[in-house]
Symmetry: D2
Subunit: 291 residues, 4 copies
């Protein structure tokens, strides 16, 4: 396919590279030109303006957050100038509220909007093993499925209202953060009674809790290995805020998200903003006098 790609950060760059490898023609654009050169060497075609990327059969965007999307796409006037029948696949983690607004805006401008946020860190993206959560017009999703197949191991479909894919993404991240908090509380309490974190986690993940989320974060916590950051704690705060906001939109209290938010602030107050978000577990230890 002939596809544009906007937003070449840690995730976007490897995703675009995978599209090139899979034989697609990829017009790439980024706000800062840094990542363009390397991608050009891999076969992507740098374009001079976002408008040139926001054209063709489909365009994927992978911008940092709501503000970046608003600035580049909405205020940048891309919708007004989009080519006919363009499918915009927005793979960023955005607020549910903003995606509802975006979907409406695209409808007004006759641009098809597919929300397709992903689960997976950069190293997973590199292996084209992302889990992609897609929602929007089913035929448009069929059309771009080859693109998803080039970037991910599986596409999970959530109907034709785009914002629902973002609900799922936000929910997933809220759940990961909550598992980290839970592991922090559990291991702090156990340690207070003389039970070592690694032994506890080995048992847990060997029985009922044998899932990647417990294995990955359990290991980081047991080894107190919070650097380098796979996902920065301050970004975790952003995502928990998205969950709280999504809850607020449907007046759903999320007491666990509130606790996690408070623990994240505590962690930031103690200098852990740029550590991996598993460093959230240190709060439980510090509060128990085990810091």
């Amino acid at each position: 396919m002939d596809v544009g790609f906007i937003g070449l950060g840690d995730m976007g760059a490897v995703m675009a590279a995978n599209l090139v490898k899979a034989g697609h023609t990829v017009r790439v654009w980024n706000r800062s030109p840094g990542p363009l050169e390397a991608l050009e060497r891999e076969g992507a075609r740098p374009v001079a303006s976002a408008r040139q990327a926001f054209a063709g059969e489909a365009v994927i965007s992978m911008l940092a957050d709501d503000d970046a999307v608003r600035s580049v796409i909405v205020e940048g006037g891309l919708l007004e100038q989009a080519t006919k029948n363009l499918i915009h696949v927005n793979m960023a983690t955005l607020s549910v509220r903003f995606v509802r607004e975006l979907a409406e805006l695209h409808r007004t401008h006759n641009v098809t909007y597919i929300a397709a946020p992903v689960f997976g860190r950069p190293e997973v993206a590199e292996l084209a093993k992302l889990h992609i959560v897609a929602a929007g017009d089913p035929r448009a999703i069929e059309t771009v499925q080859p693109l998803f197949d080039a970037m991910g191991q599986k596409t999970w479909r959530f109907g034709d209202e785009p914002h629902r894919a973002n609900v799922v993404k936000v929910t997933g991240n809220f759940m990961i953060a909550s598992v980290i908090e839970l592991l922090g509380e559990a291991t702090a309490m156990a340690k207070g009674h003389g039970v070592a974190a690694d032994e506890l986690i080995q048992m847990l993940t060997g029985t009922l809790f044998g899932a990647p989320v417990f294995q990955i974060y359990g290991a980081l916590i047991a080894q107190q290995r919070f650097e380098p950051a796979g996902f920065k704690l301050q970004l975790g705060l952003k995502d928990v805020r998205l969950a709280l906001e999504a809850g607020e939109d449907v007046h759903a209290p999320l007491p666990f998200a509130s606790i996690v938010r408070d623990s994240l602030l505590d962690a930031i107050a103690h200098g852990d903003s740029n550590k991996d978000w598993s460093a959230l577990s240190r709060v439980a230890f510090r509060r128990a006098g085990l810091g």
Copy 2:
């Protein structure tokens, strides 16, 4: 081995039966004589007093809670009358505080105390597939290992201080309860935005959250199937209380446990005491006006 067994409730009865099947000589006793007859038919030997069970090489006890153990074993004077070199394997879920006291009491009376609480519901116990968490004198554990092998699929060792096994058990149950609360909050919020619980859970357990704890409770919540109770909600409250108390003993705040406790009370106030503890998830739905 020649082993006594005290406490033949839902769990104890099938555990004792498995010991018989494995060829051990099992002297069984229960406060109410109901379960004795069936076990006798399977080859166990009913004895007339707890004292006769609290004798021989080893005795296993599987009583309901702290109060039952205090009444039958401590106040019943069993420690004073125990045979020499007896190993007492206490497999019940008890408070950490009480187990510390019990271990000390056994030491005074020269009875070896092994704590060996289990993970697994009655149907798992029936298949001899329990996970057994053991702590206490290592040589005594070696001695009773054939008994564990007859009842469980794996024994997890946590050193020679008995109460640590109970810390692990209490921590595990606190974590299960927290996962239920988390699934309740997540699915309520998602539902508010039109995402069906079963689709959300299918995706979650197909990715990062692919562990029995998410699969089992996710399915119950998605299907709103809270009866019959695999584990009653009011017993869940008891166990979360044990976690809060164990946290208090080492001044470790457990904010998630406090939230779960409040949700359990809310559930009980709305008539769900005797439902499965996955009914805890209904609280999040009710609070969001989705009840």
Copy 3:
């Protein structure tokens, strides 16, 4: 003094009227012209544009929220066109974050910015009994003190950085909301044990808790009198959000604010958005099965 007044809602209208009564020349403007006529009859001078109000020695603004201020004052270009040496007294309840931005913006345009949010409901404003919390350039505050004296019973000064007045306002509202939640929990628990709310509250306010905040909200809760709303519950949610945001700005966890937020959402999910925010207390009753 010759003073402009922008924003004539429930509060602004009576405050402007009090300025007129005190002999000041008041140029009034409002987005919707509704309230202008009545004020003209009382002696105020309606002006045709916000720009004409944003002029003279001083201008008071009392707009609904951040968005209204951004739209009317910032995007309306008032700062660029302000008369020289103008003092802008912003008496609205705004986010601390936005006030920091506003103060900076005013500095750039050489307009003096005084933050002066108030405590008191419309009936208190009518009696010119507001408590005014002021921060900003001390000489400018001296200059406008006669205006404050015409509207309030006392001015509390918080130094020369305007945002600090808003910190105090936001903190105060967070504390009121927390007292309501506290009274809800306490009276629900007491009622569960057969103690009537009015008797409990009479004792409390007759001893350690003899403050208006307990007397006023205690009476509303004891009488379950949530209509008409003195202050709407949904506005309470807005203010608690401001507190959480102000906490986040300085990475200060506010666990009570999180609890209150969750209770407010629960209340909104049950149809109480437009009731008085003391209806927040119903959540504690409902959760205890006393709804």
Copy 4:
């Protein structure tokens, strides 16, 4: 009146002394004989056994907690040996659950049980300015009213079921603890924004929050004066536990009490057990990195 007095701690000793001063005949007993001598000098009559105090027209008890009452009065066999028509006025802070049991036990033994816990610290007790919360048989309360008048400034009646007085006491202490937590969170957040605690508290207590509870604890927090302890933080934890238990008995969630409990544990983990319970406020400061 001829009255016995059991339990001569910090509170009991001054209360008994006030009874003597008011002209009553007071037979005093204490587990450790220390306080007896001083009281004898003031005119009280030491007796050799609790049984001799648990006799006459009325006996007041002011023991430390549930365990002390159980040990001295219940297990000490005092009820079996009580004189006919004896009125037992129990003024201690006890668990609601235990008072229900005690009231029933007294009924069985034909001893009248009046619950009459008090609000006030030792220096208030010394001035005979306690607030007394009384419940039980109204005629018995009339009979002992002169005793209350000698110790307190006012008696608040809560009907004829004794445990209700304890519900009120437990509720009151939960509310004080919550106000301390609230002041901690509010002043920490304000300080993060540069607003001094004493200025904030002066404004608050000068307006809506002008009650002793805010004045007393606000001053301690503003001055960071946590020693000597007026009421020890670890006793505060005991009382919050009583509130949580009383809530549990009627399945009433108390989210604020859970937060306070967690903060108290955090304070204890950081060495503040024996400081005044207003030191609870330090937790909010520490969590915000302001410790």
